[in-house]
């Protein structure tokens, strides 16, 4: 237990994001999820079932679970989201890959799917996760072995190395009933709406006012301790949320603030028209998600 507390303290001191994996047996793992140095959630994976519990219970769970092999894994927010996804996804297509050379073929075939999917590769002493967004978008991958942690945009070449004689590969398609998939979709949609509106605002108002908007929004995110940074061309969302509802709440607040400032310059009427024009081109599932979470501020989008 003191070793685990030392790991948590080390994350805290560095304000690091990542997870601590406590392996009790091949079938039983406890994961502590840390955001900027603090444990914000924990999950127990036991014989194929995942149980998620609030952060105030993690100490109690660790105490009651017994001896474990612990590993601290610093990750990016998206890398952490991939781990969260891997614990919550269901009904995957699993197959065994006996030839290490076939891993690249397998990943290539998954990359060609039109729907987002998560691939989980498990060797004896290492594992990897690859998130394939929509077709033609760059994947995101995380690889963890005893010595190596790779967390990067794109498909890390480390996946093609021979990590063992056998690899169990599972692929999970997007499932809207799984909360963390919804969070991922909201994250993607939020970035898309912001980027579209930034481009529109830049055309109408020019760089100086976009930069002014960036300053105002930076102050907004820092006041709320949100790790979302905005530049004049794009948004970089490094925030980690507890659930899709919490994510939607903060995205809603962010967009309301952003639109209110844009409206001061271009007027609410034109802003609403531009928003509708941009949103109209989004696919139907995205529109449903916007509706379900009332993501866009009332008065600009909803009648």
């Amino acid at each position: 237990m003191p070793e685990i507390q030392a790991m948590v303290d080390s994350f805290y001191e560095r304000r690091q994001t990542g997870l601590i994996r406590l392996a009790y047996s091949p079938d039983k793992n406890l994961y502590l999820f840390l955001k900027r140095g603090g444990v914000f959630s924990a999950a127990l994976f036991n014989s194929g079932l995942t149980q998620i519990f609030p952060r105030d219970q993690w100490l109690e769970k660790v105490h009651s679970a017994g001896e474990a092999y612990a590993k601290a894994i610093p990750l990016s927010p998206l890398g952490l989201l991939l781990f969260g996804l891997s614990l919550q996804v269901r009904d995957g297509r699993t197959e065994e890959i006996s030839d290490p050379g076939q891993v690249s073929q397998y990943l290539k075939s998954e990359a060609g799917r039109s729907e987002p999917s998560l691939v989980y590769l498990n060797w004896q002493r290492s594992s990897g996760l690859v998130l394939f967004p929509e077709k033609n978008s760059q994947p995101y991958s995380v690889f963890v072995s005893e010595e190596t942690v790779r967390d990067e945009a794109g498909l890390s070449p480390v996946f093609y190395e021979a990590w063992g004689p056998q690899c169990m590969a599972s692929a999970f398609s997007l499932d809207a009933s799984v909360d963390i998939w919804k969070e991922y979709q909201l994250r993607r949609l939020f970035a898309e709406i912001c980027n579209l509106m930034l481009a529109r605002f830049r055309t109408l108002a020019g760089r100086a006012l976009v930069e002014s908007l960036v300053r105002v929004m930076t102050s907004f995110t820092s006041e709320r301790d949100l790790d979302i940074s905005i530049s004049s061309h794009k948004i970089l969302d490094c925030e980690v949320f507890l659930s899709s509802e919490v994510a939607a709440k903060y995205y809603r607040l962010f967009l309301a603030e952003m639109f209110e400032h844009c409206a001061v310059v271009v007027g609410p009427r034109l802003l609403a028209a531009s928003l509708r024009e941009n949103i109209a081109n989004l696919p139907a599932p995205d529109l449903d998600l916007i509706d379900a979470h009332a993501l866009l501020p009332r008065g600009y989008f909803y009648d």
Binding site: T203, G206, A208, E260, H261, V266, G267, R269
Partner: protein, 271 residues
């Protein structure tokens, strides 16, 4: 409207803005006093009155230049403001030329070099309007261009065909007829932009252009009906209203552009 009201309140609270409003009010008050009481006698009253108008036009040209310089070369609004600036300077030169003519001849010949300045100014304001509409409707640039060309053809051909049909065509009468149509076209385009940007700060620069439409149409009507007085000493209430509205249009145009520059300079503010 709450946004715009808050923004106006913010703008008004700035010392530089208060100075600008005070300067504008002073010009307007001075104009009305000279118009009503003609204290210096001819030709100096007219000289002062025309100088006030030229000064207002110079202020518009100056502040639009400052706005233009504020934008980066790759900024889309720079195209709008480049044309606004050129149009404003052409109108200032037209005002100055008109003032010189009026000082020398009392009644200004038509057409004169001043008319050429105003005509060319309209052309550049049309370019500015085209770029502004293209920014609002990026996919409709072709249609906007067609509307702009169509509006110019109407503005040029309608007076021509009307005068030809009546058998009264002269260059002078054509120029006199051209202004109300050009003003109407620019005024409508400006009004539409005010409506599009309703509640937003980008609406402000276009309000003045809209008022020019009203003012110049009143002038054209009064001039055609012989109700326009050409000197301060012969002035009447209607001429005072028309000429003051013309000055007011310049002042509102300038203040609108100044408000835009202040927004660019100070940026948006956190709540």
């Amino acid at each position: 409207m709450i946004n715009e009201w808050n923004e106006l309140k913010r703008t008004f609270s700035s010392p530089r803005a208060i100075l600008s409003y005070a300067f504008a009010l002073l010009l307007l008050a001075g104009y009305i006093v000279f118009y009503q009481f003609a204290p210096l006698g001819e030709p100096f009253d007219n000289l002062v009155l025309n100088s006030i108008t030229s000064l207002a036009a110079l202020a518009v040209a100056g502040v639009s230049t400052v706005v233009f310089l504020y934008y980066d070369p790759e900024d889309h609004p720079r195209k709008i403001w480049k044309n606004m600036m050129i149009g404003a300077w052409l109108w200032f030169f037209a005002e100055a030329a008109w003032q010189i003519y009026a000082f020398i001849f009392e009644e200004v010949p038509v057409p004169s070099i001043a008319d050429f300045g105003w005509w060319l100014g309209f052309l550049f304001f049309t370019f500015a309007l085209y770029h502004q509409y293209s920014a609002i409707m990026p996919g409709e640039s072709e249609t906007i261009r067609l509307y702009a060309i169509g509006a110019w053809l109407v503005v040029l051909l309608l007076p021509l065909s009307l005068l030809s049909a009546l058998g009264t065509f002269t260059v002078e009468s054509f120029v006199d007829f051209y202004y109300p149509f050009a003003d109407l076209a620019v005024g409508i385009a400006g009004l539409a932009l005010v409506f599009v940007f309703r509640g937003g700060a980008l609406m402000r620069p276009w309000i003045g252009l809209m008022i020019f439409g009203v003012s110049d149409m009143l002038y054209a009507w009064a001039e055609k009906t012989g109700m326009y007085a050409w000197s301060a000493e012969n002035s009447n209430a209607l001429t005072l209203v028309i000429d003051s509205t013309y000055l007011l249009a310049y002042l509102i145009f300038g203040l609108g552009i100044l408000g835009h520059w202040m927004l660019l300079r100070h940026g948006l503010r956190s709540k």
